[in-house]
């Protein structure tokens, strides 16, 4: 019998309509095509999500999270209506209320505080992608207490980059994937950024480029790296400076680049008795001074024709000034940084350090190449070609989240600069609106006036002690103690300290905690159990120590249970957003770009986009910027704001399709059709950089002019890269006793040591605080590529990929302690203990253990069954990490944070491990279930929209 092949429909209709918007399954912001189909009732439903091929970020590809978006918009954990707490805090007992009632309650608290003392409101937003808007709102409200989550994420990388070279990795710039031949990846958090790194790694592999992964854990990107360097956590700075040592000694540095484009030739005051000791010499126009090599005379750095010298010295009035470069060379050529002297500490052999240094030198200099492209620099000098140095680097949280993270990130940026690989072909390239030096950013502001706005933006870049956010009595102006002597350059605030400080009344008590999209009673806090207690703690009168908590989230997260009032947000396919050039846009190295989200489906619940709710609250509170002259609401909703708000005349949240005809990019009048034009264009707008402006952006006249034309700058602002960061030196000078604004005594020594103007390495604070003989093991978390923080667990597809998170142990510990797969261990830190399942992982630093981040869930949250593995076997490492360093006996609360920026030092953690016999039924600590405000998800899913 001949087999008759059945007919297969190879031409099915794919969708009734494709709606193009921006993903929000993580922070990466890819473009997506949302395929819509009509269901039986004729309603358009989401049928399938794929990447948008035209989009600058992902160019068609999409990760697991993005493709699972359909399970996020149908997730049973979605909040359904505003909630008012009726049980005790933390119980999860709520009643649903109307939006009128919810907004009335919110306006009551917010209005009372605004009229009396706006600092009593702490408004912090978590993984917010609308910070230029939420910050604008908070400024108009008048509280000094606003920031987003950067303080517990990667502010060290961002701030070190801005102060050093006017930008850092990820949103600030990217490797030149098409030309790089050697790529070094340190640490990394997977969504910073997600698809572009994978695409980039593939491009490198296709061209046979070498990839070196520096990470205690060999997984993900490190699994495909050609070389894996399983470094000891917290020692990256030492390793990097040892590479610098070898390169300097061998003269394998880009002298031409250093003299032209960095402050290497700028003269440093050498008078130890002076108030300006260690500061940079300036002329009467306040311009940095260098020695002009042909004449041997001092000159302004940017004088036409000047040829800065690195080898000269300059004496004025008996004071010797030496160029920055000589200080730098002297420091890093010291034996302290010789490979032999760092090898043991870093866990990398001296021979390997030299091999990597040699490879950096070989590729940067022996494989240098020229691009035939003329360009003109800021001194007016014309160059016939652009020189490529095909070495690039990337890093984010791995090296940032330490108490020595800022200086480590600085070291990495300085290494790139020594090799001359920043903003050149084959190296690291900025993405507009970067490069943008610290001086071009605002300074922070904190002046509070009842009933009026704050005197300026909250967050920015300080230049010295005069810019700290201190009250007249010297106490911190902000609840998180940002911009104080404890962490002077805390450019993103310290969200991880807000609840702890508010509970302690240190520096003062607050009235209302208002938070958005931040799971602070679970995975987003250190000391999770302690935070739960702080949120529920009552004073002697029986009132909550933190009196009011308002929280907005789209989902039934653990934090919802701790709010008094819950404002339910929409999912990402039900809302407007702008991924703005005023904030953290989606630009590429060759183009400025921004994007929108728009409601491709309407919510089927009584929920509202949080930003629209802020517009409404702003109007109800009569806040400037949110009301018209007649007192009526200025913006109907967030979309109305996005299109009609102007930050400066002609500059608004979106850059594309501006002006009457919608043909202007960057600058242009408000265009009422702008949102529709974005939708027609696939949800984004792109404006390309001219070819002669593509590289050397900080110094390239063509780029500077282009940036002014589209409104990134008001005037050209070429600048030098800071090998030596003078603002750091200003804080050190104060600690040495100079100047009228003085640090408290207990911080003097620490400031002298850690706010060094040249990158410095010191051991993570944890090493000095705990007995390293007892707590010998480093413990880390990593984010799985298919999950974003806690968001993935509610997703029926993604939780099947990562529903469990054993503690992974290296071979040495696993065998020495006699573990077998399926065993459990008690992991103890100086702060607490957890009892959790373990598994073996061979590709791991010998003294490091790790687990996946935020897989563990509280019973009752996220609409999961209380017996879900995430709630029974899953766990958080957070219980082992305190937001404070152990008490030092001085009665002071020392934050477990970087001393420069205040970044949470998650990865300093040290632990010890014991095998437990008779494992518990659940991971420990185990908490009582919270009552779910949304019930529980259905048992089976078979999701098909079309017929």
């Amino acid at each position: 019998m001949t087999f008759q092949q059945p007919h297969v429909d190879t031409q099915p209709k794919v969708s009734d309509e494709i709606r193009k918007t921006t993903c929000y399954m993580c922070a990466c912001r890819c473009g997506i095509n949302v395929h819509m189909k009509k269901d039986d009732e004729g309603e358009m439903r989401v049928a399938y999500i794929e990447g948008n091929r035209d989009h600058p970020v992902n160019k068609g590809v999409l990760c697991a999270k993005g493709s699972a978006g359909i399970m996020q918009v149908n997730a049973p954990s979605r909040l359904k209506a505003p909630l008012k707490r009726v049980g005790p805090r933390g119980s999860g007992e709520f009643e649903e209320i109307s939006w009128d009632e919810a907004l009335e309650i919110a306006t009551g608290h917010l209005g009372r505080i605004r009229e009396t003392n706006p600092e009593k409101l702490a408004f912090f937003t978590g993984r917010d992608q609308s910070q230029s808007f939420t910050g604008f709102w908070a400024q108009a409200y008048g509280t000094p207490n606003f920031a987003a989550h950067g303080g517990f994420c990667s502010v060290n990388m961002a701030a070190a980059g801005i102060y050093t070279m006017g930008g850092a990795f990820w949103e600030f710039g990217q490797p030149d994937w098409d030309r790089s031949k050697l790529f070094m990846l340190f640490g990394v958090a997977e969504d910073h950024d997600s698809n572009p790194i994978k695409t980039g790694l593939a491009k490198l592999k296709e061209r046979g480029a070498k990839i070196i992964g520096v990470n205690p854990i060999r997984s993900g990107y490190n699994a495909i790296a050609d070389e894996w360097v399983g470094i000891t956590p917290g020692t990256d700075g030492l390793f990097i400076l040892s590479l610098a040592h070898e390169l300097l000694k061998a003269g394998k540095i880009d002298l031409e680049y250093l003299t032209r484009f960095t402050n290497a030739p700028v003269l440093v005051n050498g008078d130890e008795t002076s108030d300006e000791f260690g500061l940079l010499l300036r002329d009467k126009d306040n311009k940095f001074m260098v020695i002009d090599r042909p004449t041997g005379k001092p000159a302004a750095f940017d004088k036409k024709g000047v040829k800065p010298d690195l080898a000269a010295t300059h004496t004025v009035k008996g004071i010797t000034h030496r160029p920055v470069f000589q200080h730098l060379a002297e420091r890093y050529m010291s034996d302290e940084y010789a490979p032999e002297n760092v090898a043991e500490r870093c866990g990398i052999s001296a021979g390997r350090i030299r091999a990597i240094a040699a490879e950096l030198a070989r590729v940067a200099f022996d494989e240098a190449f020229e691009i035939e492209q003329e360009w003109t620099d800021f001194r007016g000098e014309k160059h016939k070609t652009m020189t490529g140095r095909p070495v690039s680097f990337h890093s984010m949280r791995g090296i940032s989240a330490h108490s020595n993270g800022f200086q480590t990130c600085r070291a990495l940026h300085v290494l790139q600069i020594l090799l001359g690989t920043v903003e050149v072909p084959g190296g690291f390239r900025f993405k507009p609106p970067y490069p943008k030096p610290a001086e071009a950013h605002p300074k922070p502001h904190c002046k509070v006036t009842p009933g009026a706005p704050l005197n300026g933006p909250h967050l920015g870049y300080v230049q010295g002690p005069e810019d700290l956010m201190l009250k007249e009595d010297g106490s911190p102006a902000r609840i998180d103690k940002a911009y104080t002597w404890e962490n002077p350059m805390s450019a993103h605030g310290l969200m991880h300290m807000v609840i702890s400080n508010a509970h302690a009344g240190d520096p003062y008590k607050i009235d209302t905690l208002f938070m958005y999209m931040a799971n602070m009673s679970w995975n987003s806090s250190m000391n999770t159990k302690g935070v739960m207690e702080m949120l529920t703690d009552k004073d002697e009168n029986g009132d909550y120590v933190i009196p009011n908590i308002i929280y907005s989230d789209a989902y039934s997260s653990e934090m919802v249970a701790y709010a008094d009032l819950v404002l339910p947000d929409t999912t990402y396919l039900e809302r407007h957003d702008c991924i703005s050039l005023l904030d953290r846009p989606i630009c590429e190295a060759d183009a400025a770009a921004d994007a929108i989200r728009w409601p491709v489906i309407e919510p089927d619940r009584d929920v509202r986009g949080f930003q629209s709710v802020l517009c409404d609250l702003g109007a109800r509170l009569h806040m400037p910027g949110f009301v018209n002259e007649d007192g009526s609401a200025k913006y109907k909703d967030y979309a109305d704001y996005i299109v009609n708000h102007e930050r400066k005349p002609g500059i608004g949240p979106l850059s594309g399709f501006r002006g009457e005809d919608g043909d202007q990019f960057g600058r242009g009048d408000v265009n009422p059709d702008q949102m529709d034009r974005y939708i027609e264009n696939g949800g984004f707008a792109v404006h390309h950089i001219p070819e002669e402006a593509a590289f050397y952006k900080p110094w390239n006249k063509a780029y500077q002019d282009w940036a002014v034309e589209i409104g990134l700058y008001d005037a050209p602002q070429p600048y030098l890269f800071n090998l030596y960061v003078e603002p750091l030196r200003k804080f050190q000078l104060a600690a040495e006793g100079h100047g009228h604004r003085q640090p408290p005594e207990h911080l003097r020594e620490r400031i002298k040591e850690t706010l060094d103007p040249l990158p410095v390495w010191y051991a993570p604070f944890e090493d000095g605080n705990v007995d390293t003989e007892e707590f010998t093991v480093h413990a880390l978390t990593q984010r799985p590529m298919a999950m974003y923080h806690s968001w993935g667990t509610q997703n029926a597809w993604l939780r099947q990929l990562h529903g469990r998170n054993p503690m992974y142990l290296p071979t040495k510990i696993f065998t020495e302690k006699g573990f077998e797969d399926g065993d459990w261990a008690r992991i103890t830190s100086a702060h607490g203990e957890i009892t959790v399942p373990v598994a073996h992982h061979g590709g791991l630093n010998d003294n490091t253990i790790w687990t996946w981040n935020a897989i563990g869930k509280r019973k009752g949250a996220w609409a999961l069954d209380e017996k879900a593995p995430e709630a029974t076997k899953g766990f958080l490492l957070n219980h082992l990490i305190h937001e404070l360093q152990p008490p030092k006996g001085d009665g002071l609360r020392w934050a477990n944070s970087d001393p420069v920026t205040g970044q949470a030092a998650w990865f300093d953690l040290r632990v010890k491990i014991e095998k437990v016999d008779g494992p518990p039924e659940n991971s420990q600590p185990d908490f009582d279930p919270i009552k779910s405000p949304v019930g529980q998800g259905p048992e089976d899913l078979a999701w098909k929209v079309g017929k």
């Binding site: 087999f3 592999k205 495909i224 050609d226 000694k249 394998k252 080898a311 091999a355 590529m785 099947q800």
Partner: protein
């Protein structure tokens, strides 16, 4: 029993590059999304929010640790779906003729109308590439997106399997192995593409590209020419600097 075609006009399949796969599962979920909405019954999930969630997937990524004789352990991410074998045992074992291999392109499919959910084909597949959907009770497997690759409702550039289209690491390639000049034939030749478990005699169409050697950088002692010091003492360095600047 169903007969296999003596030969097929084309041999469509995938090349999967184990050198670049980072184990992100993008292909797994994109496949789940497309095939839930398209070909046959949706891919269901039992106990979706419960203690033992278990769904149907046509493609899964496994991770294996390899410890070489020297050097640290390595992790290989290994995506696995139906390999569309030339001698597919899942076809010949099928009692109803539901399981078959297409004569025109070699794609192995299940005609869900004729599938009785007996599971024999899954049992016979040495790769574990088939999954019985627990809600629909029919056998599910990779269709190589037969409803995409010829689909004129899609732009031409999108007429490829959804796992290939979505892969951020460019680790998946689709093409015709019967054509020696196709991208997949070339990649297989150039990169030493391998059969999975050839000893099973199934003649899989899909090929795997092996990871390139790792940790090959040799340690360097102090006298390496690339790192030869320019001077033996700090003062000498300044002298070198002066000379080097003169040459600029």
């Amino acid at each position: 029993m169903t007969q296999l075609p003596a030969q097929t006009e084309r041999k469509l399949g995938l090349v999967i590059d184990l050198d670049t796969c980072v184990g992100c599962h993008a292909c797994v979920i994109s496949c789940k999304g497309w095939n839930t909405e398209n070909y046959g019954e949706p891919l269901s999930d039992k106990d979706a929010y419960g203690a033992n969630p278990s769904g149907t997937f046509l493609n899964r990524v496994h991770a294996f640790e390899v410890k070489p004789d020297t050097g640290p352990a390595q992790t290989i991410h290994f995506p696995k779906s139906c390999l569309h074998c030339e001698d597919a045992p899942c076809v010949t074992v099928c009692p109803t003729g539901a399981s078959y291999k297409r004569t025109e392109d070699g794609i192995v499919l299940v005609n869900e109308k004729d599938c009785i959910g007996c599971g024999l084909c899954a049992w016979s597949c040495p790769y574990g590439a088939r999954e019985l959907d627990q809600v629909a009770g029919v056998m599910k497997k990779c269709t190589l997106c037969v409803d995409r690759i010829y689909n004129e409702n899609l732009p031409e550039e999108d007429r490829e399997p959804t796992c290939v289209r979505t892969c951020p690491a460019n680790a998946r390639h689709f093409g015709d192995f019967a054509d020696p000049d196709s991208n997949v034939s070339k990649l297989t030749r150039e990169r030493g593409g391998m059969d999975l478990m050839p000893e099973q005699g199934t003649k899989p169409v899909n090929k795997y590209l092996p990871p390139r050697p790792k940790d090959t950088m040799e340690e360097i002692d102090i006298l390496a020419p690339l790192l030869a010091p320019v001077a033996s003492e700090p003062k000498g360095f300044l002298g070198w600097l002066d000379k080097a600047l003169e040459k600029l």
